[in-house]
Structures are given as C-alpha cells and as structure tokens.
C-alpha cells in the first residue's frame, strides 16, 4: 500500500502503467538506521537471479536466503570512510493496490544497520540498486520518516522524498546522501510534544465517539 500511495502522490512524475515504484522508508536513531523496503513483486522477479524459480515463495527456503543475499548485495551504506551492509531482519509478502495496475503482490523487507565505528546513522550514502540494475525504468522513492533529531514524524508532509533511478545520461545509479540534522534538545522536546499532542487529539476523538 505504501508503494501505491507514494505512486499516487507522485502521479505527475510517473510516466506510464508499469508496476509502481519501490519505496524505502528510513528511520534514524542513535542506535542505528532502519530501512523498510517495499518492492512490487512482478518487477522484483524480473531482476532476481535465474537460480530463484519465477513462482517460488520468497518467504521459504532456499529462496529466502537467496533473496536476502540478493538484497544485501544491492544495498550498501557508506559512511566514515567504510562500507557496511544492513542486516535483513524480516521478509514478508503482502497485497497492495495501485490505481493503474490494480492489486499486486509486494515484498516487504526490514533491514537494520547498527551504529558503530564503521557506520554513522545520521550521515551516510545509500547505495541501492535492487531491481533497477536489471529494470532500469524502475525507480525507488526514499523518505526519512522518523528522526527525532530533526523532529520529523511519519505524519508530516512528504517534503523530503527523493528518488533513486537509473541515470541514463550518466549510465549509473547514483548514491543517495542521507544527512540528518545535528542533535538538538529543543527539536527532541518538540517532537515529543507533537507525539503527545497527536495522542491527545486521538483520545479526545475516541471519547467523543463513545
């Protein structure tokens, strides 16, 4: 559903009726960075190695390991002069819907990269070309949805979505810099206040309906 919604938001950018784009939502925290990836299965299957049968259930072995290997190979985080690969924590397949293509299957993967000497979760470059390397007309929307340092919450306007796509003019997939704001006690308190206020509004609405 996330991919479908993102596609609807950017309907003016989209150009035809292929599968919707992939979506990566990033959550940043001191402990590390979490990546929630949603990929339309039809396009993913065009890109997976031939060793993975076209109709295989990607949640089951041995396809699951092969899928994880594929995603890991196509995702790298560069910071502090080092390159790390996030760990795949979960794999799921769900149904989504898009105005142009109707219902379709979507792979949802959660990956995590822990903060450490080789990875700074608030300033790194995302090297990601899953699907795109084989389907160069596919693209991936990337959005940081949670970052307490920048007082950014999932409910805020989509003002920082960016796109990873194949650059035909340069014949490459460029890395995407992810730079978070510096820590700020004021921003963190404001973020906490906004979360609290949103909860308050929700509670008041529930009481009214009751």
């Amino acid at each position: 559903m996330a991919a479908g919604l993102m596609c609807a938001l950017f309907a003016g950018e989209a150009s035809a009726h292929p599968m919707p784009n992939s979506v990566i939502t990033i959550s940043l925290a001191d402990a590390g960075a979490r990546f929630d990836v949603a990929i339309p299965l039809p396009d993913l299957r065009l890109a997976l190695p031939a060793s993975i049968p076209a109709t295989a259930d990607l949640r089951l072995e041995p396809q699951r390991t092969a899928l994880i290997d594929y995603l890991t190979a196509h995702t790298a985080l560069e910071s502090t002069g080092a390159v790390v690969r996030p760990v795949v924590e979960s794999v799921a397949v769900d149904e989504s819907v898009d105005e142009n293509v109707g219902r379709y299957q979507e792979l949802r993967v959660r990956m995590f990269a822990a903060a450490g000497p080789r990875f700074a979760p608030r300033e790194f470059s995302l090297h990601y070309d899953a699907v795109i390397h084989q389907v160069p007309t596919h693209y991936t929307m990337v959005r940081v949805v949670q970052d307490s340092h920048a007082a950014r919450l999932a409910a805020q306007p989509d003002d920082n979505a960016r796109v990873i796509r194949f650059d035909f003019a340069r014949n490459e997939v460029a890395a995407l810099p992810i730079v978070s704001a510096a820590p700020s006690p004021w921003r963190e308190r404001r973020a906490a206040a906004m979360i609290g206020a949103a909860l308050l509004i929700g509670l008041v609405s529930l009481r009214r309906r009751a």
Binding site: A8, A14, N100, L200
Partner: protein
C-alpha cells in the same frame, strides 16, 4: 484540571501543534481519487462526425504554415474571453512540457481548454487545424488522433470510469500563431501529445510526440473501426524479426524495460551511449524496414514537413541504432524497442492492460536536437 493560565496555554499550544500535524498528513495532492477539475466534463466530442468544411473554406486560399495560422486566428475570433485566455498562452517551454500519457485522473496539468468547452463550429475549426498540422494520411496524423480520441470514448462506455472521454482532450497555442516569432500548436490528452513548434513560419520541432492506445487491437467506436497503432507495432516487429539471429543478439538489451526511457517529464533522459545493432551495418532491405518504422511516427505531421525531417533521418541512418528487450514480435507485456540516431529517438513499450485485458502500447517520438523546437 488546568488550574493555571500557564498550564492552559501549554495545553492549547499542544493541541494546535497536533492539529497542524494531522491536517498536514491529510493534505492530498489531488491525484487519483480526487475530484477532477470542472473543465473535464467527461462529455464525448468525437471528431469524426464534426463538420470542418466551413473552416476549411475560410482558409482555402492558404497552405502550409499560413493555413495553420489562418485557422488558429479563425478559432480565436469571437471566442469567449475566458476560453481565449486559456487557449492563447505566451510562449514558454514550461507549458510545452506539460504533457503526459495519463488520463486526467492521473495528470491534470495540461494547458488549454477541453474540446467539450467549444461550440460545434469551433470544434470544426480545431479539426481543420489538426488536419492541416498533422496531415491526413490514413491511420497517421489526424486520422490517428481521431482514433485515439475514439479509444477514450470506448473506455468511457466500457468501464464507466470518470475521466475518459474525447471531450476531455485539450488544445492550446503556446505563443501567438503568426508568421514571425515562436509558437507551438499543442493538442493532447490521454495517450496523446501532439506539439509542433514553429519559428518565423517554419516548423522547427515536431517532438515530443506521444502516442498510446487502449484497447490496442481493432475496436468499433463512433461509427468506425479503430486501430491507430497496429501499423506501428507491425513495422517494429517486421524490423526486428527481419534481423538475423546474430543481429538480434547484438540488438537485444541485457535488461528489461517496463516503460519508456524518455517519457513525459523525462526530457533529458537520453542515454549517454548508444546500444544495439548499428543500422549502417545492416543490408539495404533491413535499413528500409528501419525507415518504415520511423515513418510511422514522422508521417504524423503534414507531408511537406514530414519529408524534410525524413530526409535528415535518412542521411543519419548509418549511425542510427536499433535495440529491443523482450521478444522481437513486440506483442507481449514488457516488449520494448527503440530507434536511437544522432537525431531521431523513437521508443515503444508494450504495457499491461490498465482498463481492459491484454497489452497496450506506449510510444514516443523524440528528437535529440529539436525537441520543443530546440528550446530549453
């Protein structure tokens, strides 16, 4: 509960902040699902039955660009001021770029009034204008446009979905039609973008030119059979299947293309390096097939201007490349083909059906040197 003014003020500020968060999250961008602007009336205005004879008689003494200007002036004459303001725009490339393959449900930034907003006589002038600018070759030019509009009426009548209708297609003059200065005749809507740019009375750009259609195979609508892009698909299939196995091997792209590369709002997305088989390395009969495929797009404009452009493309044929992905028969989902020359760029991508079963083509004719008349 709120015993002090400070506590009350803090609570109010928190509530206002939360309300702002919630409202921002609910703010939509008017994409699919949002109501269409009022000028998309979903009324059918099929061009076939429209009588253009009065307009054609008025400008019968002129030809070429002069005839197009005569017809444009005829349309503007006695047009309601509000429509005239939307029809006649100052020349700017930003407005020229506002085209798409999407129907209004997916893209609502096109310029110009819709056909449904004009009187029947005015639609007759528009029909004459399109015939003059696009030529009248069967299944190309104006005839192709008429059939693509019929396809939208077919979708309207067979899906009931709001947004499909021939009356929703739009026309605009970007720049003032005249024998001096720069202007573009724009006509477009779902699966269609026609934009011819003139400078000092000469055609300087016939691209970007987008053509798509759903349904793809022959269908009956508005009193006639329609199959506007069958000959394009056949020409590409003939071009590719005529290659030897070794030539097809060189032409085949290693990746899968599910969409056009240089589609709407992707004006500068031309690949840096050419891929595929070099047309100069092919035999004469295979080069002719490449030309035949090119002609199915270039003949979408009036014949004298088409001849000038074809002469240029013919002279560049040796350094033109042909590439494809999928199958050379160009009949399956994700089948894709491109012709990439020093100037000419044509792509066709077979898309899955959106409203009906089966596949349907999206295609674009671009020119590396003269898109939007060379203006950026």
């Amino acid at each position: 509960m709120l015993k002090t003014p400070k506590a009350a003020l803090t609570a109010i500020l928190l509530v206002l902040a939360a309300a702002a968060v919630v409202m921002a999250a609910q703010r939509g961008r008017g994409g699919f699902g949002a109501a269409l602007p009022a000028w998309y009336t979903n009324r059918s205005v099929p061009l076939g039955p429209v009588d253009a004879s009065a307009a054609e008689r008025t400008c019968t003494s002129t030809q070429g660009h002069a005839r197009i200007v005569c017809l444009a002036d005829l349309l503007k004459r006695e047009l309601q001021p509000e429509l005239l303001t939307r029809l006649q725009l100052p020349y700017n490339v930003a407005d020229a770029r506002r085209w798409s393959n999407f129907p209004p449900m997916g893209y609502r930034n096109r310029v110009g009034p819709t056909l449904a907003e004009f009187t029947p006589a005015q639609v007759g002038v528009i029909k004459a204008l399109l015939k003059a600018a696009a030529g009248d070759v069967a299944n190309e030019g104006y005839d192709e446009i008429e059939q693509i509009l019929n396809a939208d009426d077919f979708l309207k009548n067979n899906t009931g979905e709001s947004g499909f209708a021939s009356g929703n297609f739009q026309v605009a003059f970007i720049g003032t039609p005249a024998t001096t200065g720069t202007w573009e005749l724009y006509f477009g809507g779902h699966h269609l973008a026609f934009g011819s740019t003139y400078k000092d009375g000469v055609l300087v750009g016939a691209t970007p030119s987008f053509r798509g259609v759903e349904p793809f195979t022959s269908f009956r609508e508005n009193g006639r059979e329609n199959a506007p892009l069958v000959q394009e698909q056949a020409a590409f299939a003939g071009m590719l299947t005529g290659l030897t196995a070794a030539e097809q091997g060189r032409a085949k792209l290693p990746q899968t293309y599910t969409d056009l590369v240089v589609g709407p709002q992707r004006d500068d997305n031309f690949p840096k390096t050419k891929a595929g088989v070099r047309v100069g390395d092919l035999s004469d009969d295979k080069r002719q097939r490449v030309l035949q495929a090119i002609e199915t797009y270039v003949r979408d404009i009036d014949p004298p201007d088409a001849a000038v452009i074809l002469t240029r493309y013919r002279s560049e044929l040796a350094e033109t490349y042909v590439a494809f992905s999928g199958t050379p028969a160009m009949g399956a989902e994700n089948d894709y083909v491109r012709i990439d020359g020093p100037s000419v760029w044509i792509e066709l991508s077979m898309q899955p059906g959106r409203s009906l079963p089966g596949v349907h083509p999206h295609s674009v004719w671009r020119d590396r040197t003269s898109d939007y008349g060379g203006n950026r």
